[in-house]
Symmetry: C2
Subunit: 229 residues, 2 copies
Amino acid sequence: MPGGRRLPKQTFHNLPEEKRKAVVNAAIDEFADYGFESASINRIVAKGGISKGSFYQYFEDKRDVFMHLLAVLEQEKLAYFKDRRPPANHMDTFQYFRWMIKAGMEFNSAYPRMTQAISRILLVEGLYYGKLFGDYHRKALDALRMMIKGAIARGEVDPSVDVDLAVMVMDTWSNAISTYILNEGMKQKDIMKWVRSPKTQEKIDKLLYVMEYGLRKTESEFVSQTSQT
Amino acid sequence: MPGGRRLPKQTFHNLPEEKRKAVVNAAIDEFADYGFESASINRIVAKGGISKGSFYQYFEDKRDVFMHLLAVLEQEKLAYFKDRRPPANHMDTFQYFRWMIKAGMEFNSAYPRMTQAISRILLVEGLYYGKLFGDYHRKALDALRMMIKGAIARGEVDPSVDVDLAVMVMDTWSNAISTYILNEGMKQKDIMKWVRSPKTQEKIDKLLYVMEYGLRKTESEFVSQTSQT
DNA sequence: TGGTCATATGACCGACTGGTCACATTATAG
DNA sequence: CTATAATGTGACCAGTCGGTCATATGACCA
């Protein structure tokens, strides 16, 4: 594809790391506090210690700076999970999902503001600005769908299971759980400590257990219950 | 309490019904399309066919007109359900919850724009403007909690069940389902027909079944699974 | 008829928005 | 040193925002 230009312009990449971090952190704070629509570029440049003209030399527009946050998130996550592997090699799909959720929680607790900014916009406002950011959600759903199909292929899950339904259930739960963690966690003094506490862990375990148990049994025992006595 | 003034001012109640409806509908459309923060009073008055000065003679501010929408919703719902009762007198709590969800879906399909406007702000943006609208969510949670406690008292649900957990599960599901119905339904030509179609109904049944089955079995069979081989 | 009072109106306000641009500053190269 | 290119800057733009207010309108009463 000719003319394919990188989204944050070159001038931004040339910046000293310190300045770049300041801008990124300012943007994270702004998006976390105000969401996408109400986020103010004026406040971002003020907090980030750059001029407005510079901002538009670094980024195309508001959407561009947010997309850059997504790239930063991806990079941070990669670094965070570089040496974290599932504790067992052969895991049941639900065990793996549980591990994924908990690993995600760890990351979210380590970078709560970034998580807040991005999940707020992607998960919540994404419902309504679907055209802008819908792709990301769709990708996540596809990954889940592949996971379920793999589980079926390996015989771990009843082949008659409704894949789309399972995807929706798992997606809903992972969103609900991370939202819960973020909202409750922000009230705590030490998020990490709270997340790792046995009480919180058990709550998450129970939530996932409700999901898993329902999901395992759904198809084989479900009978349409349209008539009620 | 002295000085307790009704929220939409008297001048608004004096208006001819036609005009009042025009304003309310304009507000519904605006909130449905833009959410709370980005909703524009200028657009509301333009669509509603009133002047800006009049708007501020009817309402205190943006929050006031939204609160009025909540009152209208309550009234419409009351009228809609006046002659709808559960099909059976003695229902299991989960049957009753299922009926509630489906009845709610019927209403939402009948008033999709109003539902969209209000649920968008209360359920979604409410997470962040918690101080403004958090009370409504809290009331809904309390109602659910009472329902569960009643079920336990009547022996329908294992007394060892974690009430808060059950509340969160049911709340999450009813939100997820109504969001799903709204998003998918808006794509259909005839929402009501789509909602009532056997295919949609079965999907909802399955979702609720996943929740119910998981919830019923959670406490009695749950064992903390912190160690993984 | 003239007077009074509730209501209707939109020009106007200051503050803010995302975005631009002519100019100042700095870094690099010859 | 000078010339040139890259980068930094904030005043400025048109537009929108929520909110106000002097004035106009019209209904009711004496």
